[in-house]
Each structure stands twice: as structure tokens, then as C-alpha cells.
């Protein structure tokens, strides 16, 4: 019987140790917010690290309180008998470095200070975020791990397999890429520009102000949401329908349902996300290139030891199938153990958070022999 895991608490690991970043800058100390589901085996080899997408958090499954309206972001995938079966596996989820949901980021206070980092926070990379997750896994005593994630989380999973080949035994990369295309960087750039040019942004020092860069962050989120849906999904959802009216008002307020949808998504987002974090995390994603410093992607994969599963979705145009196939082809060339599925879905990039049934079947059969 599939059921949800119960109430879980987000925990916090305080690392009183300097973190040297890829940029050469350092963080004197940091906190990692994380949740775990299931039990770590005696051999400490049954861990699965799931990494969230751009604006996710450590709360991947279950609820933090009985009264919570929503479950964690990957609740359908994590739990007893689910894709990531907590009867068998010890599932770990952490908030990314630079985030705003418990792990150290630009909204955190500087050590021994009542001043927040703001734009004094160093620019981070996907590689840096892996080091923070590694610290957490070491703390938890994990010896072997399966890494999995969608979108940005997929990049982290990929980087794990490259950086820590001796620990990672399987790697599941969903709706992701080894590097962003110019088009995807462009969308992120528009989002960042919206934030940076918000009159309330104040060079990142808005935490103690009444005025927050809400409009900029909302616009960034709107752009994001356009890229998460595909044309058909949007058309089916909204077409050209008007929002609570039969005819346009001939002004610049919301006429169409799609406008109202984006407006709503933007508004909901500013209540839960930090504008500076959005800048830092999108920058980290833009900068990532799994083949950085080597001649080709297959060269990067040479030292990996994991078994790979790569999945894409037919209507995802943000990280399209071709980009997943690039990873797959490089892994084949590097003579690695790799499987690939392209899942039929009308949901665009969002599919990895919606198409649970097929993903579950594929992941379960892939993990089968590890069980």
C-alpha cells in the first residue's frame, strides 16, 4: 500500500568550517537545512539524495505540521512503496546553498553580525552546492548514495556523479541538462534584470525596509512560468479566455486568464522567495557546464562509476530531449552504463513534478537491482 510519510521536521546542520568556493572566495561558516525520510542501513549504503529545482526547499515529502495544506514538493515520489521507497532507502533532501529556506544564502546573517549578506554573498556555482551537500552526507555517515533530481536538481545529480564517483552508485537525471542553452540563460537574464531594476531593490539591501523588490521578483517568476509550461499546455489551460469578463476593458489591467495566472504565480512567489536568492541561484545554473575544463562531455564522464538513468519529457522546451540525449550520447561514448527514457507528456518542463506514474515505474525498475 502506498502511503505518505507522516510529519517531518526540517533539521539544520551548522558547519563551523570555512567553505572555499569555486570563485576563490570563501564562506566562513554555513548552515544546511535538510530533511530525511526512512532509515539509514547499518552498512550506510542505502541513501538517496534528492536535489530540488530552482526555487525548491528541503521539504520534499510529508508535512511539517498536521495543519499544512500541502505536502513536500516531491511527495508523490518519496514514501513507503513509492519511486524512492522509504521502506528500503534513506532519502535525504536539502535546501541549496544560496537559497532562502534554511540553508545559508544572501538573506542569512553574516557570522557574528546582525547584518545580512545581501550582495556581499559570494557568487556560488553548482559545484559549490555539491560540496555543501557532501558535508551533510558525511555528517549523516552516508557511504554510498543514489543521487536524483529534476531540472537544476538533475544538474546537481550529474555533478555528484562526476565529482564523487566512488560514492555515487546510481544517478537519476530528470528534465535536465549538462549546460544551459543561450535561450535558457536569456530567460534567466530577463528575470535577474527585472529584480535588479526594481526601484525597491536597493542594491540588495532591502531586508529591513518596508519596501521589497516584489514587482521585480514577481516578473522574474512570470518569465519562469512561461518556460515551465509548453505552448499546448498554456493553450489548453487558458486559450484566449477573458478573466471574469466577457469583453476587454480597453486598459492595461488584466484582461486574459493567462495574465491573471502569471500575476497570481508572481504574487504567490514573492511571499515565499527571496529576490537575492533568485539572482544567486539562477547565476549558478547559468554558469554550470559539466564539461568545463575538459575537451568534451564524454571526457568528463570517463571517471564516473555510477549507473545512469536519464529522463526527458516530450513537450519540455526549456531542457528539451536533445539536451538529455547529449548527456546520454556522451555516457555511451564514455562506455558507461546508461538508460534513457523520453516520457510522453503534455505538461512541458513542469512534467517532472506532475507525471508521477510513469516516472515511478521507470525509476522503480531502474533501481530494482539496487534494492
Amino acid at each position: 500500500m502506498e502511503k505518505n510519510i507522516g510529519i517531518v521536521q526540517t533539521e539544520y546542520l551548522e558547519v563551523k568550517e570555512e567553505l572555499i568556493l569555486q570563485s576563490g572566495k570563501t564562506l566562513p561558516e554555513y548552515t544546511v537545512a535538510y530533511e530525511t525520510y526512512g532509515e539509514l542501513s547499518e552498512a550506510k549504503d542505502n541513501a538517496i539524495l534528492v536535489s530540488h529545482a530552482l526555487t525548491g526547499d528541503a521539504h520534499a515529502a510529508g508535512k511539517n505540521a498536521e495543519a499544512d495544506a500541502k505536502f513536500g514538493w516531491w511527495n508523490e515520489m518519496i514514501g513507503p512503496d513509492k519511486a524512492f521507497d522509504t521502506n528500503k532507502y534513506f532519502v535525504i533532501s536539502s535546501n541549496i546553498l544560496g537559497g532562502c529556506s534554511g540553508t545559508t544564502g544572501p538573506s542569512s546573517f553574516k557570522p557574528n553580525s546582525n547584518e545580512r549578506y545581501g550582495l556581499d554573498f559570494p557568487v556560488i556555482t553548482i559545484e559549490d552546492t555539491i560540496e555543501v551537500q557532501k558535508k551533510l552526507l558525511d555528517y549523516l555517515g552516508v557511504k554510498k548514495v543514489i543521487v536524483a533530481g529534476g531540472s537544476m536538481g538533475g544538474m546537481q545529480a550529474l555533478e555528484w556523479s562526476i565529482k564523487y564517483p566512488d560514492i555515487v552508485c546510481a544517478c537519476i537525471v530528470i528534465a535536465s541538462t549538462s549546460k544551459l542553452s543561450a535561450q535558457s540563460i536569456a530567460f534567466n537574464a530577463v528575470g535577474r534584470n527585472a529584480i535588479l531594476s526594481d526601484p525597491n531593490f536597493n542594491n540588495g539591501n532591502y531586508y529591513d525596509s518596508q519596501k521589497q523588490p516584489e514587482r521585480g521578483l514577481a516578473i522574474a517568476r512570470m518569465v519562469g512560468h512561461i518556460t515551465y509550461l509548453c505552448e499546448d499546455a498554456m493553450q489548453n489551460k487558458f486559450a484566449r479566455r477573458f478573466q471574469n469578463k466577457d469583453k476587454p476593458d480597453f486598459d492595461f489591467n488584466v484582461d486574459f486568464q493567462v495574465e491573471s495566472y502569471l500575476e497570481h504565480q508572481g504574487q504567490v512567489f514573492v511571499d515565499r522567495f527571496d529576490a537575492n536568492s533568485y539572482l544567486y541561484i539562477t547565476k549558478a545554473v547559468d554558469l554550470y557546464d559539466a564539461a568545463q575544463g575538459v575537451s568534451s562531455l564524454d571526457e568528463t564522464f570517463k571517471k564516473t562509476k555510477a549507473k545512469f538513468l536519464v529522463m526527458s519529457f516530450t513537450t519540455d522546451w526549456l531542457f528539451p530531449t536533445a539536451q538529455s540525449k547529449e548527456i546520454v550520447n556522451a555516457l555511451i561514448k564514455a562506455q558507461k552504463d546508461v538508460s534513457f527514457c523520453e516520457i510522453e507528456s503534455p505538461c512541458g518542463h513542469d512534467a517532472f513534478l506532475l507525471e508521477f506514474e510513469t516516472q515511478t515505474k521507470i525509476i522503480k525498475s531502474f533501481l530494482g537491482e539496487h534494492g
Binding site: 546508461v338 538508460s339 523520453e342
Partner: protein
Amino acid sequence: MDKYGQSNGLRLNYSIITDIIDEGAKVLDLGCGDGTLLAKLVKEKLVKGIGVEINQDSVIASLEKGLSIIQGDIDAGLKEFGDREYDWVLLNQTLQTTEKSDYVIDEMLRVGKKVVVSFPNFAYWKIRFHLFFMGKMPKSKVLPFSWYDTPNIHLLTVNDFYDFCKKREIKILKSVFMTKANVKTNFVTRFFSNFFAEEVIFVISK
């Protein structure tokens, strides 16, 4: 031929191919279906194998067997695979369903040192009789579909394949002719094999 005597059609085909493949070889199985053959090769011949399959349910069934499998369309070519990267490339019971069969064979010969290709022989005497007497598209256990829903869009005969190989300078290293549950090794001439074989397995190389 006796050792295959008791098995049914598909199992027979799998057993013959398993015997052909050498131990520990690198194998690419195109249109591998639910992975039964590839899993057998991994188990019995310890091959390092990878499958390509277009149907998602089949992909999942292959994954369940612990196989490496790439969902994809072999008609789109084998671009992800380098020249002569595999000891063996298999195309079992799939050639007649491919859209660009000549291109698929070219690609297999590029990627594999040796290629195993099997297909139902459309010149099998029962099929000829079916068409001759009934005047309808032949159906059999090997070819169970109706004309309107068949995936077998490029049916061919043993003789067609010989001609094809000759024209393209493809070497035929081995041929196995079968009826439902038997291997026929006693065909004297090509005419007899084309007439009496229901299914055929060829090993070819460039």
C-alpha cells in the same frame, strides 16, 4: 539441429542467437523489446549489452531485467554509437518493421563488427500458398497481423536478402534457416531455403 528440437519458435530463435554470440562480447540489441534476448545473453554469455527500443512499456520491462536501455527510434540512425564500437549488433525480428531498412543495415554495419539480422521469410511455401489460393495477404504465427495494422512494412524473402547483400558487397558469414520449431540445415540449394524456411537468421559483416 537436435538440441533445438524441443523449443518453440521464439525460444528457438533466442537460443540460436545466443549460441552465435561469443562470451563477454559487447552487444547492441536494436528493437530489443522487453529485453528477453539481451537478458539471456547477459546471463549466459556474460555480454556487456545495451538495448534500443521505441516502446516505453518495453523499455520499462527491459529496465526491470536490469538492462541498460535507450529509448529511441532506430530509423533515426545510430548516431550515438561510434564506428565499430560493438562486437555484435542484433536486429532480431525487426528488420521488416523498419522504415528505411537499407539505412538501418548500413548503420548496423558501421557500428558493429558483426551483425545478426533475422526476419520472417515471405517466400515461405505456406505464405505463397496462402496468397495463391486465398488471394489475401498471408497471415501466420510469425506474421499475425492484418494488412491495415501490420508493423511489417518491409517484408522480404531470403532471396531478396541475398541480392541486397551482393549489391552492397556485404559478406554473409552464416545463415540459419528455420521452420516453426526446427533448424533446417539440409537445404541443398538457395531455392529450397527460400521455399522452405519460415524464418531466417543471417550473420553479416562489411
